[in-house]
Homo-oligomer: 302 residues x 2
Amino acid sequence: MEQIQEAIQRRAADIEEIIRAYLPAETGYQRTVLEAMNYSILAGGKRLRPMLMQETYKMFGGSGREVEPLMAAIEMIHTYSLVHDDLPAMDNDEYRRGRKTTHTVYGEAMGILAGDGLLNLAWETAMQAFPMGEQGETAHMQRIAGAVAVLARKAGVYGMIGGQTADIQAEEAEQVSMEQLLFIHEHKTAALIQAAMMAGAILAGANEQQIRQMERCAYNIGIAFQIQDDILDVTGTMEELGKPIGSDEKNHKQTYVTIRGVEASAREVERLSREAMEILSSVEEDSGFLRELTAFLIHRRK
Amino acid sequence: MEQIQEAIQRRAADIEEIIRAYLPAETGYQRTVLEAMNYSILAGGKRLRPMLMQETYKMFGGSGREVEPLMAAIEMIHTYSLVHDDLPAMDNDEYRRGRKTTHTVYGEAMGILAGDGLLNLAWETAMQAFPMGEQGETAHMQRIAGAVAVLARKAGVYGMIGGQTADIQAEEAEQVSMEQLLFIHEHKTAALIQAAMMAGAILAGANEQQIRQMERCAYNIGIAFQIQDDILDVTGTMEELGKPIGSDEKNHKQTYVTIRGVEASAREVERLSREAMEILSSVEEDSGFLRELTAFLIHRRK
């Protein structure tokens, strides 16, 4: 376990450098929004989405640097969603990871604009994956276009934004069905993980079936991750969780665990996790790190 | 004048159909955000940006349908910027064009998500310009990538979002310099017009010099459009303007006109307009409609 943690930390440090290379310099009349964007994205996330993208890319034999702008782009998308989620009209959070949220520091208008700026910068950055000179070849450009298109779809109203919408509406509803709950987890949590692994696979030239397998594998990782989170809310310690224990129940929030119970939920996490591992093993013998990373992600903080 | 107005209306009706083809069906657990997005974009804008894109594309000999997803995308970007601009933390507007603003109808959280959804949908839509089968050729794909990249840059922190940031900060400042004012107009207003004309030119295969000329031409159109707006605020009638006359002065808002006076401002509009026309004539003899459209845009409501 310690070995994998060290390996993850080393990779996260490399990814940090890649992301920084695509961040704006804080100058000009629009300086404030640039500062707010950098403040948001440099808050020290675990960079799991770019890491999953890069590792999937490598697993399918990718070895170029074309994946780097897309790694930066997916982290910008993840970050903008947190910035907008924290706004007063949304979750109204003053702190995130022990640090003041963007709108708390820069004001609400800048919080909105910094989120918009990060989402748009994600696409400016993703477009840099295209070779703009003469050296591009058609198949290569089609892979890039395919990867960017998947990222765009999974981030949007048929992906993450769709999940956020359903989540907000579920909070207002009295009763949430299991179908609705899984829709929320699939879209709000799993969609960007799917984007990460699918984009990595597409860029590396994986075939259609392999891309579908990555979509399925990432679905399992996302849902297992989320159920594990709900289990920890009931069984974990304050220290492990970073938020008060049982806060879901106190907020009358319905989760997988409140509907199915802890034991059945833990069995479902195991099932999803095992299936994800099997997919990775079946796709590629050389999936060792990605399998360890998956296990670490799902069983983290336990 | 009436003839050009009719021609513009006919083209706007065609563009309306193109935009509708890319809008989401209002179904699923995320239905509310889809409804809010459609409500926002179907509020009856003049579709000037897609029109300028299409006409520039045609002027440079473009005749395919690859321009259509980008036309829809630029209108989605324009619309999201209005939705977020109207939010309570920004301009706090309850009405736009005599219709309740998006957040007034759907609530503030949905206003934020609908804007995010439209911005993201713009990139999902733009990516559809790429031929995804085998038929793509490299030069063609590079033109599309170039057009999408220009759109992304002009919409972001070095374009429109940069202008919005500077505008918000200017409102809080006691004194605004002419340099700052022109920065705001260039970025907040002209940048998307530049994106429209440059993307149209790039898609049609225009050369580097022609693309620069379109950037300059669109700059002139955007700045002239904005100064003309400020002139009308002083000299126009309530009916022409759609808002109370002299509202800038009442809001202590510094404009080109409050700094330079009406006469000098009108001369500047003429100069910018004449230069834009000259560029269009020099680039292409067959620029008749685009020149008329430019004149109409700049001298509208007079």
